[in-house]
Every structure is written in C-alpha cells, then in structure tokens.
C-alpha cells in the first residue's frame, strides 16, 4: 500500500482522487512511525520548493526519507525535493539525487513561465515506471523551476526551450515533474505502474 507523505505542501485531493479511480490503496503519513505501515511512498508537493523543504524538516521526515529502501515517487515539487539544490529560495534539499533544480531562463529563451500545459515526454531509457506508456506521450506540467537533464538519472525528458528532466530515477527513488493525477490515461497508467514496482 502507498503511503502519501503528508507534510502540508499543497492540496492532495486530486492525487487521492486519481488513486481512488484506479482502485489503488493508500494511507497518510503524518508521523515518522507511519512510514513502517507502507511498502511504497509518494511525496507530493505544490508551491515553493524552499518552503516545502522547510516543512519536511519541521516534520522530521528528512532522515527517514533518505534511508528508505522501498519505491519512492516524488511528484512536481516532491520530485525537486529529491535533488541537491533549488534556485527557488536558494534552498538546500535532500541530495538524494545529485542534481540541481533551476529556474527557466525567460529572458534568454523567450519562454512563458509557468510552463503550464501538456508537453510531450520522451523516454530516455526503458523503465518499469513507464511500462505501457508510449514515448512522446503528453503529460500535464505546471512549474517554473525544472531539474536539469542528466543522462545518469534522467529516465524521461521534456523539451521546453531547453531539454530537462521529466522523470528521474536513482535506485529506489523516482521523481516526475508532471502531474500524473492530471495527465489523462497516461498519468493513470504511470500511477498504476508505480504500485507494481519492486
């Protein structure tokens, strides 16, 4: 069963609704002891990465998250928390995946920010998280900061002025920049795939 890390960073109604629609069981993690009750974890997150990190620290969740051996999926800001650093609030993050979270350079690239809408996602390597999802499927993104592309950890990429990480993986830690709970059938497939990861 999935444990949703409940640390007060954004609304999780849409996520739990998506899991309900798929018949996927989940519970809420409110204390460190709750981590024991689950065999996989989702770290949601909307809003400011620096603030989200602070909330995660106040909850005392950082050490246990760093020590998890079971599958972990960070979504949006929850994914960014897995990296080392974010330009949003110049925040030091968990460093679980040694990458940086950067701001879209609007002046240079003439981009509209937030990057808000459906973007194609290109699969970089074969991975169980994207099982039965075709490369170049569309997913729904809402973000102003992105994780750099790094062939060592990027398992799927997106292109918005520059190529960045749509999904990352290191060992049992996964992160997706898009919102699977808002990404139609492809997103639901990804959530389903997560429940089968070993």
């Amino acid at each position: 069963m999935i444990g949703i890390v409940n640390y007060g960073a954004g609304n999780i109604f849409s996520l739990t609704a998506a899991l309900d629609r798929q018949g996927i069981l989940y519970g809420m993690i409110d204390t460190v002891a709750d981590f024991d009750h689950y065999d996989r974890y989702i770290i949601p997150g909307v809003g400011h990465a620096g603030t989200a990190m602070q909330k995660l620290q106040e909850k005392g969740f950082v050490p246990i998250i760093k020590s998890l051996k079971k599958p972990v999926l960070g979504i949006c800001v929850g994914m960014q928390l897995l990296t080392s650093f974010s330009e949003e609030g110049n925040a030091t993050l968990t460093s679980i995946i040694p990458m940086d979270t950067l701001h879209f350079n609007t002046e240079h690239l003439k981009l509209k920010v937030p990057h808000m809408g459906w973007n194609k996602v290109r699969l970089e390597t074969e991975n169980e998280l994207f099982k039965n999802i075709e490369t170049h499927s569309f997913f729904y993104f809402v973000h102003s900061y992105f994780i750099e592309f790094n062939p060592n950890f990027t398992i799927a990429s997106a292109n918005y002025g520059i190529k960045f990480s749509a999904a990352v993986k290191r060992d049992n830690y996964y992160g997706v920049q898009f919102h699977p709970e808002k990404s139609g059938g492809a997103g639901e497939q990804l959530l389903k795939n997560f429940t089968y990861l070993n």
Partner: protein
C-alpha cells in the same frame, strides 16, 4: 510480457524536438445551482444538466482542460461550488479552473482544497487589484487566472464587467500588464465584440496582447468554426482557445478539431 513501446529511434530527431508543447482546447461550462445552463447536444448523455457527466464526456473527447463558470446568485452558491469542484476532481483526469464569485482568500482556499487546479477572477480583481497579489502569494501564481472582458470603445480597448454591461476606466493592455505584474499565472481574454458572433476570435488584439505577455494567454469569444481555431493559433500564437456553445451544441467535435489543427501544423495532444 509487456515492453515499453519506445519508437523514438525511428523518428527523425529534429522533427520530434521542435514542437513538443501542445496548444490547449478548453470547453467552458456555465453552471447555475450546480447544473449546466446552456443547452447541450450530446447524443449519449444521460443527464445534459450534470456538469460532471458533461466534463467527463469532454475529457474523453480530448479536451485539454475545462473551465466552470458559476453564475449562481444565491446564498447557497459557495456550498454548491465546493460540492461541484469535489465531484469534478474525483472523476475527471484533466486539469480544471473554476470561476465566478470568488472574492476572498477563504473562497480560494476552499476551492483549492476541494481539488480545483486554478481559479479565475474577474471583477474582484478590477475592484481590488491587490487581491491578485494576495492569491499569488498564498497559493502560487499557477493557481491564479485573471479573466478580462474587453470591448472596443471609441478606438480604445476597454475592460468591461458584468458580461459587457459595465465599462471600467481601464485600458485592456495596461490592465493585463498590471495583472501579470501582480502575480497572475494566466490571462483569459474574452472579446465582447466577438463573443456570440461565431465569426472568429479577435486575432489582431490577441496577437498584440500575446506578444507582450510572458504568462500563458487563453483566447475566448467568437469561435464558430474549426478554421477559427486554426486562425487564432497560427495568427496570434496564444496558448489556448476556449469556446462554449459550439462544443455544447455539437457544432464542433473536439476529435475532429484536433485532427484539423494537427493537419495545419498546430501542435495538439491527440
């Protein structure tokens, strides 16, 4: 055993990488007392007045996003809105915006917690522009859509309220710039001169606004044919196009619309 259908090696890289961000098609649903008000012409709809079932139909047809405009005028409005948002969030797997009568941070907070992806504010922002800042600070700019109704008035584009009945002293371009500076995450611009005419979007104005905007712009008002959507994306490069009656009455079917857009080199999600 299933394997990932990874076909990119056979596709020329250049073509694939150029256009990967889709233009959005957004049906707009007017809701009163929890029921859709405009006539709906879907053959297989059990209850044409049920916004949730209608929303589900649209999501199945390939709509990229939905906007619900609540025009309820009673004291019960807030309760019915929250219930509506919850039902939509429970059943629909695409993003949606809710607008109508949002005047306070507590309204927005309740809608966020009920599962709304964005809220749209119009007259509340004109009356109290600082409300945009407050919403952006509290919930992030991605949550805040500022809807602007514009009308040409003696050679100037002026912001109107109450469906075009009340003129403000604000010039449209300046107001949109101010809304962006205050923290709007997206602009929904409706041309009252084009709205209801089915003669096409106001592409000139939309282009002018879009060229000077660094947040997404949704075009609204005037959609009557598939060609109008092709025109608005090709001529003004807006991020999304909204329509109501042409979708509700089945005059334009979203799957066909998207096929035609793609044929005309407008990137869409199929």
């Amino acid at each position: 055993m299933n394997s990932i259908k990874n076909t990119f090696s056979s596709v020329p890289l250049e073509v694939e990488e150029r256009n990967t961000f889709a233009k959005r098609i957004i049906p707009c649903l007017d809701v009163k007392d929890g029921r859709t008000v405009k006539g709906v012409n879907f053959v297989n709809l059990r209850d044409a007045g049920d916004p949730v079932e209608l929303a589900w139909q649209y999501s199945q047809q390939g709509a990229d996003e939905l906007i619900f405009l609540d025009i309820t005028a009673t004291h019960e409005r807030r309760k019915t809105m929250i219930e509506l948002v919850k039902s939509v969030a429970r059943q629909i797997n695409i993003p949606f915006t809710i607008g109508g009568g949002i005047n306070e941070l507590t309204d927005a907070d309740a809608l966020l917690n009920a599962g709304a992806d964005k809220i749209s504010i119009n007259s509340a922002a004109v009356r109290n522009p600082a409300f945009i800042n407050q919403l952006a600070e509290a919930f992030g700019k991605q949550f805040v859509v500022v809807a602007v109704d514009t009308k040409n008035n003696s050679e100037k584009n002026i912001v109107f309220l109450n469906g075009g009945r009340i003129a403000t002293g604000l010039e449209t371009e300046q107001w949109i710039k101010e809304a962006e500076d205050r923290g709007a995450g997206e602009i929904l611009l409706t041309s009252m001169d084009h709205d209801g005419t089915q003669n096409g979007f106001d592409c000139d104005l939309l282009k002018e606004i879009n060229d000077n905007l660094s947040i997404p712009l949704i075009a609204s008002g005037g959609a009557g044919a598939i060609q109008h959507f092709i025109d608005v994306f090709q001529q003004s490069n807006v991020d999304a196009a909204l329509a109501a009656s042409v979708f509700h009455y089945g005059e334009i079917r979203i799957p066909l619309l998207k096929e035609e857009l793609k044929r005309n080199k407008v990137e869409v999600r199929l």
